[in-house]
Assembly symmetry: C2
Homo-oligomer: 688 residues x 2
């Protein structure tokens, strides 16, 4: 019989965005100690009790960028395939390509340890808000961050024990702080992974689409002292089909949301930042494609950058599209107006918040005026050129290290110098032609997007063409780590004397770049941060923890239903993707190619079996691999993605459109028993 | 002494967008017979009188896609270099590359005739609104277009004489009609063209940027009976510098504007259509780049498509950016609200307009729901594949020609069948691999953007990969014109029997494609057209011809000032680009390369000479080459472009940002006398 697994998990302070109008039923990434059970009961007619929540908490885990659940008493962990792809790759050899053919340990002895993979299970949370407040009481504003960080460090250091990890989590933009203690498992072994082509079926083409047919699951096992960890508090898996409209929940670690952003900021994203990113990435992709076509060596050099760039498109386009949906932004505006009204009703809040929204709006206007300058001279100067990045660290580091620590740019403070030194010393091989590509891309953009009569632009471009200049700079001796260390150790004098083309180049207009940075910090970043802090305080005053905090890659729970959605314009999408659809969508060509096992199994499988499912739960990147749960707390799948509207979830949750997408326990069971013949594993997840 | 040139021009009925709030001073592409002299006088303190307008009218000309002015008594015409590039190219030989080195006729004998170039000069306009109204009175709505077009044909046919061209121009969406008679010059000779690198200095990088340094001018000469045409009513050129804030006007033929669009339509453009175009064109560009890299033959095949695609980017991005500027859309909303208020004050108008704005808005929502389906199954099906286009004409044509003419799709009515036949018969060589590229691009988009469970998508894609399917289809025998004609003549029976892969493919899902088209026509196109007509009538009722009609590539005049602008965010851009800037921006590498003549001339030239100038006149594509005029009616330059904000001019004019960009008469004079040594030409334009 199955038992609950032990891998502990615990709880955090809480709060939330807006005690919002009724429509937003499923919104919220709630901390486990502040679950809105009454609200859910009223909305859905059912809600979990605290034992239910405690049990789920203690069976949810975190791995790098992902989430997971414990599903057997012997340390078995269910997560996504895409969460373990690095492990699968590093275990593969020329003879055993587990990425291509899958990994299937029929016995415990065949389970292989994932190098460098650590899994965290939360064991306790303590509210340390009072500690932080005491430590920072009476501290001058400019010293606040330092005092707070020192207290963070003290709390973490006091908490640390062998086999655990402690961290202070900032919730509600500083309205609350939690000290989280995790038990860490550093011996994590791979049990099962399907073929990559099945896990990522449809590839980038189907990414964010639905219906969807991804077998994006895998099993790991936690080991302790060389033996499978005993995990009595695990969750059960359920293999009966999900039903339409059924209540479900998802537990996991949502990574980051920005749901307190104002309408002015989101309009800036929609109108300036995202379109610019999409347009320029298109140009870069074009250059990378042309470069790859030069030969196999160039193809190899460009491949990972090209893939990153290609993968970014759909995400960026989806975020832009979400912001372009009038309903989404209207919803944010409504919340904002609601909070503004509450603030106006309270004299102290009115005085404290003052014109925070106006300040943010004006900062966005200022940003519009300096956006390209800031991006091209400072933030993204040099594009992805390593030579440029090294040169800037050398040039700036030389000046900054001569200053008192407190007056330096944050990157060059004593605490961070070792990391820079390490970066400069590391022996990284670079391809000058690839450096040249990135430099030429960046310089062309400078020439095109910045005004011809801008002083810095003239200094950057001189009268060379972007291509000639990029070529010249790519010949820099900074490719040699010994030369880099010589300049780093030589400090300001060495920099001033260097005749290396890249050093000379960066040195010549670093003053202008710093000036743009200062303008950005003083007119955009600074004012926005201060105004947002005041808004966050007002919000916390108004709502306290009746709302949820922005995502922080710490354990949360969200609820919703099994449900499809209606596209704007009317197309109705149902909640289920059935097995037959997998076969209809396959073409024999990547990314729509079935593995041999799946091609062979077709006749044995129920064509109406539920493969992937859409639910109205509120998740975001970091939730991947986390369990989809039914009312019993049983695992009915592992969430791995969302529809395209989920991309807007960074900014707001739209209950009519935002859908999570999960690989179901039913298809996992079918796969293991009828396709892969993993009978021992099936017995284990069945609790036999 | 100079005389006014004779090439006649005349006048049209008029009207306009909105007797709008004061801020929009410089807005308007006015017809010459309805110039708002009182308004301009009130705004600018000066306005031209009717003789001034008549004189300018009669010296403005039209050539394909462009405008021009007469600037000597011997038929000399000033226009842009980019308006004559086809002529320069076709006159070039291996020995004489006039595009690269320029064309400089020192004597009349050296002037070369531009093949197929015709220049139109308007000689008269007659208001034929009453004729059209009589011809269409009492006609049922479904027969209206046919009756109107028949009357158009009658009027044109009655008007036609040797050496003239007649056309009916629809103004105010049918509020007024003008019969335009042009004198046509078909013997037009090239007199002078600078080097392409100077005319297009900065290329696509600087396109829509300012300051700008393009020597984008050329001279043509009109010939009549083999001799230079006598043009006594020409305009003078002025060579003294323009001054900041000086009043200027531009005469020419703006091509197309859509300034009566509603906010709902513009939001659709901003949020759906333009981003989609930008994103997909990026993907296509990427494929074209990779294809070009395969070898010189592929590079040749792809070059013109690649260039077209690359050129589209900046225009699309600029239009998107203009719509993303909150001020622009707010301005359209304000106008719309103003008109709605006027309508509400008038019972008859209220009844007639009914819920036209709501209908358009609902149509946009419906369009959002079918946008991708309509684009990929119908509007852009097959992308740029000729094989696909032929197959669709063959398949549809076979069915349609069996129907009564009145019931056919417009493309297949008897009147248009000859053009289709000609297209099918023409001997066009195609590259199967290039066809494959376009088909694969389109099919990949179908797979990615349309839902997997859509019926038509399943029929299109089957279980082949887009690549395999594209390859198979690219082998179609339709590349052979004889086979195409055989199918065309064989009609429905031949189509039904064909086993050609492309014919079979198109045939299989043509029903679905037609169904999408029908939905589009009935839910989007039709309702929008009807609602817009009612809005246009209401607008005409409210404002009559106190406003200007949308651009129709017929003669118009606009006024404004020499002035820079302030970018949103604060950067101030002055109105002048000086000669010194040209030298500072040159790099020796395309597109910033100086010709030898210009490199040599640097020391002889005034660095502060005005090269290009920005003005607040309201122009759009088609105005290129038209004269920039001062208060005396003298030509102070040839407009050739705008700043990036001009791209929004398709939808609205933003007086704070929209700027025309002109190559000045001063730099033209400097170039001819101090760089090119064109002394006879200088004497001619000086009127000596």
């Amino acid at each position: 019989m199955r038992q609950k697994l032990r891998a502990a998990a615990a709880v955090v302070g809480t709060f939330g965005l807006v005690a919002a109008p009724a429509a937003l039923a499923e919104e919220g990434m709630w901390t486990f100690d502040n679950f809105p059970a009454e609200r859910m009961q009223a909305q859905m007619g059912w809600a979990p009790d605290q034992p239910w929540l405690d049990r789920v908490m203690s069976a949810t885990a975190r791995l790098p960028g992902c989430s997971a659940s414990n599903v057997s008493e012997a340390g078995l962990v269910l997560t996504n395939h895409h969460c373990v792809v690095a492990c699968v790759t590093s275990l593969s050899t020329a003879e055993n390509n587990y990425l291509e053919h899958g990994f299937m340990a029929q016995t415990r002895e065949e389970e292989l340890r994932c190098p460098n993979l650590t899994l965290d299970v939360l064991t306790s949370i303590r509210d340390v808000t009072a500690d932080i407040e005491t430590a920072t009481a009476g501290v001058a504003p400019e010293d606040f961050a330092r005092a707070r960080d020192a207290e963070f460090a003290r709390l973490v250091s006091d908490c640390a024990r062998a086999g655990t990890r402690c961290e202070v989590v900032t919730l509600y933009q500083g309205g609350r702080y939690g000290l989280y203690e995790y038990r860490t498992f550093s011996d994590v072994r791979l049990v099962f992974a399907p073929e990559h082509s099945m896990a990522a079926f449809g590839g980038d083409t189907d990414n964010f689409n639905f219906p969807r047919y991804c077998l994006d699951f895998s099993f790991l096992r936690l080991y302790s002292a060389g033996r499978p960890a005993a995990t009595p508090n695990h969750l059960d898996m359920r293999f009966t089909p999900l039903t339409d409209d059924e209540i479900v929940l998802i537990s996991g670690n949502p990574g980051r949301t920005s749901r307190l952003r104002t309408t002015a900021e989101l309009e800036f994203e929609r109108d300036v930042n995202l379109p610019w990113q999409i347009e320029t990435l298109g140009d870069l992709r074009d250059r990378l494609t042309a470069y790859s076509a030069l030969g196999p060596e160039q193809e190899r050099i460009a491949s990972s950058t090209l893939q990153t760039v290609q993968n970014s498109f759909k995400g960026l386009a989806g975020r832009r599209q979400a912001l372009a949906d009038p309903a989404g932004l209207a919803h944010v505006a409504e919340r904002q107006a609601d909070l503004q009204q509450r603030v106006r009703r309270n004299r102290m809040a009115t005085r404290e918040v003052a014109d925070a929204w106006g300040e943010i709006e004006r900062a966005q206007t200022a940003y519009r005026g300096m956006f390209y300058e800031y991006q091209y001279l400072e933030q993204r100067a040099g594009d992805r050129s390593l030579l440029f990045a090294w040169a800037r660290d050398l040039v700036r580091g030389a000046t900054e290290r001569d200053r008192p620590d407190a007056e330096r740019l944050a990157r060059y403070t004593d605490a961070r110098v070792p990391a820079i030194t390490q970066g400069l010393r590391a022996n990284r091989s670079i391809a000058p032609s690839f450096e040249e590509l990135h430099l030429a891309f960046w310089l062309s953009e400078v020439r095109e997007r910045l005004p011809a009569n801008n002083q810095a632009v003239r200094q950057i471009l001189g009268t060379e063409s972007p291509e000639a200049l990029a070529h010249r700079l790519s010949q820099s001796r900074l490719s040699d780590p010994a030369y880099r260390m010589q300049l780093w150790q030589g400090g300001a004098a060495a920099i001033a004397q260097s005749d290396d083309p890249m050093i000379v180049f960066v040195r010549n207009w670093d003053g202008e770049a710093r000036a743009v940075r200062e303008r950005y910090v003083s007119q955009v970043e600074g004012p926005v941060a201060l105004a947002q802090e005041r808004i966050a305080r007002a919000r916390f005053r108004a709502f306290g923890d009746t709302q949820y905090p922005d995502a922080t890659f710490s354990p949360r729970i969200t609820y919703g239903r099994v449900t499809g959605w209606s596209e704007p314009g009317g197309r109705v999408v149902g909640p289920f993707a059935h097995t037959e659809g997998l076969y209809e969508r396959s073409t024999g060509t990547s990314p729509f190619v079935l593995s041999e096992r799946w091609a062979d199994a077709r006749g044995r499988l129920d064509p109406r079996g539920i493969f992937n499912v859409a639910t109205s739960t509120d998740v975001i990147g970091g939730n991947s691999g986390g369990p989809l749960l039914d009312r019993e707390g049983d695992v009915v799948g592992a969430v791995f993605d969302g529809n395209v509207h989920l991309l807007g979830g960074e900014y707001f949750y739209d209950g009519a459109l935002n859908r999570s997408v999960t690989v179901t326990s039913t298809i996992i069971h079918t796969a293991l028993s009828d396709v892969y013949g993993m009978h021992a594993l099936v017995a284990e997840i069945e609790g036999r």
